[in-house]
């Protein structure tokens, strides 16, 4: 297995952890559980969101750094194939992924700061920042997965 594929797998695993954490947190802020959680979905929403903020920042940074490293190989060996096959939607979706991921990076200081604030303050800001990050993470994950299905780095 080549080094790029190993890095891509690690990037994907970090992204899965990040997806789980940010989805827990996003559901927790939008549909919080007010009674003791009974079923699986309620338990999923019942997590204390503030406890996830540090982990999410670290995982986002780690995923971004790993993504930035393998992005160079994508430009050489994957994007050119997408262009040759005229797969414009896949190429455009990956362009959007890079911009959404970059915007998410810029939101991390505010996200971290407002999750450290008392729970009663800035609830809307916290919810919106979390939602934007969750959208960026889900979008990036799905686009990366589809593009890897079209053309991976090989073995």
């Amino acid at each position: 297995m080549n080094g790029w594929t190993i890095l891509l797998i690690v990037h994907g695993l970090v992204a899965v952890a990040l997806l789980g954490a940010i989805t827990h947190q996003a559901l927790g802020v939008w549909v919080p559980v007010r009674r003791p959680a009974g079923n699986f979905v309620a338990r999923f929403r019942a997590v204390p969101g503030a406890g996830y903020a540090n982990a999410i920042v670290v995982l986002y940074l780690l995923a971004a750094v790993l993504g930035a490293v393998i992005y160079a190989e994508y430009r050489i060996s994957v994007r050119t194939v997408l262009q040759q096959l005229e797969m414009r939607s896949a190429e455009g979706a990956f362009e959007l992924k890079e911009h959404f991921a970059a915007i998410g990076l810029g939101l991390l200081p505010a996200y971290w700061y407002y999750w450290r604030a008392p729970a009663s303050d800035h609830a809307r800001t916290r919810a919106m920042l979390t939602s934007i990050l969750a959208f960026a993470v889900w979008f990036s994950f799905l686009v990366g997965h589809v593009v890897n299905n079209i053309r991976g780095f090989g073995v």
Binding site: R75, I76, E91, G92, E95, L96, Y113, I132
Partner: protein, 107 residues
């Protein structure tokens, strides 16, 4: 970290990133086929030229300077900064990128 830094960094970074992409103000260029970095915006050499890292670097520096200046702002001014600006500007930038890249999807 202060509220002033968090808000100003978030807003300025997003606006700067959008401006960098639109105007191609990359701090440096990466040539992946050669494994070389070059200062500023450079044309493709052997293989593609990558500006994304350079756009983020430019935006990051601008945002850190602006955020640093925001720390010096009086408390009364910081209280007038609205935290919602962080997510509103980010959302607007994401929508703007969708619009700019619509050519990839509508053909």
């Amino acid at each position: 970290m202060t509220a002033g830094f968090a808000i100003v960094f978030g807003v300025v970074y997003t606006v700067a990133y959008f401006a960098c992409v639109e105007g191609n103000y990359a701090l440096f260029t990466y040539h992946p086929a050669l494994g070389e970095f070059g200062m500023g915006v450079q044309k493709a050499k052997d293989g593609p030229a990558m500006y994304w890292y350079g756009w983020m670097a430019t935006s990051g520096i601008v945002a850190v300077v602006a955020g640093g200046l925001a720390i010096l702002l009086p408390e009364a001014v910081v209280r007038r900064l609205t935290p919602a600006a962080t997510w509103i500007v980010a959302l607007a930038a994401m929508l703007a990128f969708c619009w700019l890249l619509k050519g990839f999807f509508l053909r």
